[in-house]
Amino acid sequence: MKLAFEVNGERRTVEVSPWKRLLDVLREDLRLTGTKEGCGEGECGACTVVLDGEAVNSCLVAIGQCDGRSVTTVEGLAHGGVLHAVQRALVACGGAQCGICTPGIAVCAAHIIDSGLIGGIDERSEVSPVGIDVTARARVRELLAGNICRCTGYQLIVDAVIEAARETERGPERGGDQA
């Protein structure tokens, strides 16, 4: 099946079985190996990409469903040679150790920051319908719970995401690491 879709702002075409996983099309056909496979069952989040504005597990998406759609991978987070705030923060805070989960986390964290899903950074205790403490750190933990990291214990990643969210709230700053 011939398919055309947008990847990181660029139109790409492939001819593959519609059943092939989006993850495999990205890694094998498009040679974008930044997105990783950790489990093949949507448990670990290492394969996270943004598809039509939603963070999803690309191991669970059939490429046949991607015709005409728009995908952002880790390779597309930086713009004009400047890393996304969350990428810079992960480096600065030490939030990446072995790094295999990092692309998925960077994509998901960038998504939750850019879509405003975290909510107010300094908002205090509001208890959700299921009793989740929604201070910003707790909210970040809940939103990223689909990304498993085995190296960090999560602490420095949460630090990095909060820092990046604060920076994004403040507005764009000059400078930043080159991609």
Binding site: C39, L83, G94, G153, Q155
Partner: protein
């Protein structure tokens, strides 16, 4: 000559990781990201029987084999073993050979696509005559079946301190004011590195190149020399960027290396094997399950009179690393406490489980769980504050350990206990309600523990590790076999070398470990990388600096060291390489026969505090607070050290309440990430880390090992907290909601 400017990455600062940008951009290349021209994919045919005789391997005639390469043991021209401590584990079970565990490799296939390789593997039909299998250590000790030698015991130890006969030991117990006794069991644990195991091999002109996800290139190298019956320079092992290891990639990569090497040789092209997650969980090594019986005796004043420990571990089907895991387990079994009489017995036993192997802590978490549960019970029995008890009985400089080691420098016991006490604050009130108004019980637990850094006894001398630093055209290369698997060794070595050379970190390159490019620094295990290999890097770097400065003086060359190095390279047209070889610190005396003396050159020290909240409707344990105070000697890079501590801590908390490997008839029944769970962001508490520094004079800038220690203690602190919340003991891991529910009738009524 001018003074060089201070280095930009001085030791002791949290400089960002050298490989950080590559990792956050997805540009770091892990094995499955690597392409080799026309590489095929391999798959492994595995036993569905736990114990039996392999009679035949048939190929389904209905399958099209024309595009598939098949490899069996018959294709092995060298020694059919994965050489490690003993040569008991085959790379592939031969026809007529014994199958020893479920999912044991029997045959291999390679094909142009993964899908075809999986299909081909399913079309290979092994025929196995089953034998009775043994999954229980007591049945194995009772010799229900002979799986190893004549006793099924892979290794045993006996340590005696302060007595010579069992009768003397019993007399000490008989004369005690109080005795505390318990039996503690810990569960197998899956490392769950997020990058599954993966290797690729290719042959060129009779030379085999293997690249992959691994911790110990020279372990793989040693194993391949035996399997391929080749000279050392005929096989090259290189580490690709490795997505986590935690011990799980210490020895298992040798098995996969063997498989890709054989497939690539027969197929005449590069072959890559990348394990599926389910396969990785089912077939690779786990933390040794362990049962520890622990007795301690105290006098009327509460001083320890005697400790008696009996450790039994399930080693699985082959010896692999079990003797060393048991060794560390028994050497830590008496704990960081002063005690004149100690007996420790240990046995690791063969069963038909898949072989158990290395996982952070390596035997110490298992025996630490036992001794810290015992100390909690002692404190409760005596009505003594648990931290006060630890302070009273803790080993300090001038005390001797269970093996008779006189502790000298770098003993941070007081400091870590004081640090925990300093932040503890008011313990939670036992009875409470949660945010939804449901009833909960809360409790606090503490523990105190230690971890020997580096290889045991004379191990480091036997390893004789080396590292080199080379000045190459104005750039300085660090050459060691240490593998960065996330713990940050590349960055740490960069900082150490930059500081020793007095140059900016930008001029340092830590070369990728390949056995043809770097000396054997020893394996990346045992909390030795910064302390031992970092020390070698420092010495080699200093030697390079000395040589260059001497050359500069002799040739009247001025400028910075980088400029001198460039001038040297241009003039001499050669690189300047200095290699440092391991030199033991003075006073390390160890007797392997009696297991007495200085077991480790130095210990890390730690104390942990955990608060739990138990939901009385669901019996779920929430960890609401976790503090670790750890003496690391010197934090070479505090952010990296914190990251190590936090990662190890969460692995321990997961082991305590969430994680388990469930065996059914010797097969892992929960072999997928859905059912073999590890903590998520939402399960992890906000982790508090207190770095304590009591420098070790023989470590670079005073550093000693930190990689494993955070794993050893927290599970005991959790169990202690749960006991304090509910009023009854929990002596088996995991402390699952099911186990809490089962104990409900024994909870203390408030």
């Amino acid at each position: 000559m001018e003074r060089p400017p201070p280095p930009v990455a001085p030791v002791g600062t949290s400089v960002p990781r050298v490989d950080g940008v590559a990792k956050v951009t997805g540009r770091a290349l892990y094995l499955d990201d690597l392409d080799a021209a026309n590489a095929w994919h391999g798959a492994t045919v595995r036993s569905q029987v736990a114990h039996g005789v392999l009679e035949a391997i048939d190929l389904d005639p209905a399958f099209d084999w024309s595009a598939v390469t098949v490899v069996t043991a018959a294709d092995i021209w060298g020694k059919n073993v994965i050489a490690l401590i003993e040569d008991d584990q085959p790379a592939l079970v031969p026809i007529g050979g014994r199958v020893m565990h479920r999912d044991e490799p029997l045959a291999l296939v390679a094909a142009p696509t993964r899908a075809l390789a999986f299909a081909a593997a399913r079309a290979v039909k092994p025929k196995i005559t089953p034998l009775p299998a043994v999954f229980d250590v007591d049945q194995a000790l009772g010799k229900a079946q002979l799986l190893y030698g004549t006793t099924n015991v892979f290794k045993q130890f006996l340590i005696r301190k302060g007595h010579e006969t069992d009768a003397e030991l019993e007399a000490a117990f008989a004369g005690a004011a109080q005795v505390v006794e318990g039996s503690y069991t810990t569960s197998p644990q899956e490392q769950m590195y997020i990058e599954p195991q993966a290797m690729m091999a290719s042959w060129h002109g009779g030379r085999c190149h293997i690249v992959g996800s691994m911790q110990c290139p020279f372990y793989v190298h040693k194993a391949m020399k035996a399997l391929l019956a080749c000279e050392p320079d005929e096989v090259v092992i290189a580490q690709s960027v490795t997505g986590g290891g935690f011990g799980g990639k210490e020895e298992y990569p040798s098995m996969i290396a063997a498989h890709v090497a054989l497939l690539a040789h027969k197929a005449g092209r590069a072959v890559k094997i990348v394990y599926d997650r389910d396969e990785d969980i089912a077939a690779t090594t786990k933390r040794h399950p362990c049962r520890t019986a622990h007795r301690l005796a105290v006098d009327a004043k509460g001083e320890l009179l005697a400790i008696d420990v009996d450790v039994v571990m399930d080693g699985g089907a082959y010896l692999t690393l079990s003797p060393v895991v048991l060794s560390r387990g028994v050497l830590h079994a008496a704990g960081p406490y002063r005690c004149p009489i100690v007996r420790v017995r240990g046995r690791v036993v063969a069963t038909n489980h898949p072989p158990h192997g290395a996982f952070r802590g390596f035997g110490a978490p298992q025996t630490t769980f036992a001794y810290e549960r015992q100390m909690q019970k002692l404190a409760r029995l005596r009505g003594e504050d648990p931290l006060a008890l630890r302070k009273r009985l803790a080993l300090r400089s001038g005390d001797t350990t269970a093996t008779g080691q006189l502790l000298g420098f770098s003993v941070g016991s007081d400091e870590v206990l004081a640090a925990i006490e300093g932040v503890a604050g008011t313990p939670p009130v036992r009875e409470g309600v949660n945010a939804q108004g449901g009833p909960v019980r809360r409790g606090r637990g503490v523990c105190f523990y230690f971890h020997g850094a580096g290889f045991t006894g004379s191990g480091e001398q036997r390893l004789a590790g080396r590292a080199a630093v080379a000045a190459v055209s104005g750039r300085f290369e660090v050459r060691s076999s240490s593998s960065d698997m996330g713990q940050g060794s590349i960055t740490i070595f960069t900082q150490i070398a930059a500081a020793a050379l007095g140059v900016d970190a930008a001029h340092i390159v830590v070369v990728d470990p390949s056995t043809s490019q770097v000396p054997d620094s020893g394996p990346t295990v045992a909390s030795r990388t910064a302390m031992v290999v970092g020390g070698l890097v420092e010495r080699a770097a200093r030697a390079v600096r000395q040589k260059l400065e001497a050359w500069a003086a002799a040739h009247a060359v001025g400028g910075s060291l980088v400029e001198i190095a460039r001038a040297h390279a241009a003039a001499e047209r050669a690189e300047l390489v200095e290699t440092a070889a391991y030199e033991p610190p003075p006073g390390i005396q160890w007797d392997d026969a009696t297991y007495t003396g200085s077991a480790y050159p130095v210990y890390g020290w730690a104390a942990c505090l955990v608060d739990v909240e138990i939901d009385l409707d669901s019996y779920e344990v929430a960890i609401t607070r976790c503090v670790q105070a750890i003496d690391v000697g010197k934090a070479l890079n505090p952010a990296i050290v914190r990251g190590q501590i936090e990662g190890g801590t969460l692995q321990a908390l997961g082991w305590a309440v969430l994680e388990n490997v469930v065996y059914k008839e010797g097969k892992v029944a929960n072999a997928n990430m859905t059912n073999c769970i590890v903590p998520t962001f939402a399960d992890a508490p906000e982790l508090e880390t207190i770095l304590v520094e009591v420098p070790y004079p023989f470590g670079p800038s005073g550093a000693k090992g930190v990689g494993e220690i955070p794993m050893d203690g927290p599970a005991a602190a959790v169990a202690n907290a749960v006991e304090n919340a509910l009023g009854c003991p929990f002596d088996a891991l995991p402390i699952s909601p099911e186990s809490i529910a089962r104990a409900r009738l024994r909870w203390e009524v408030s």
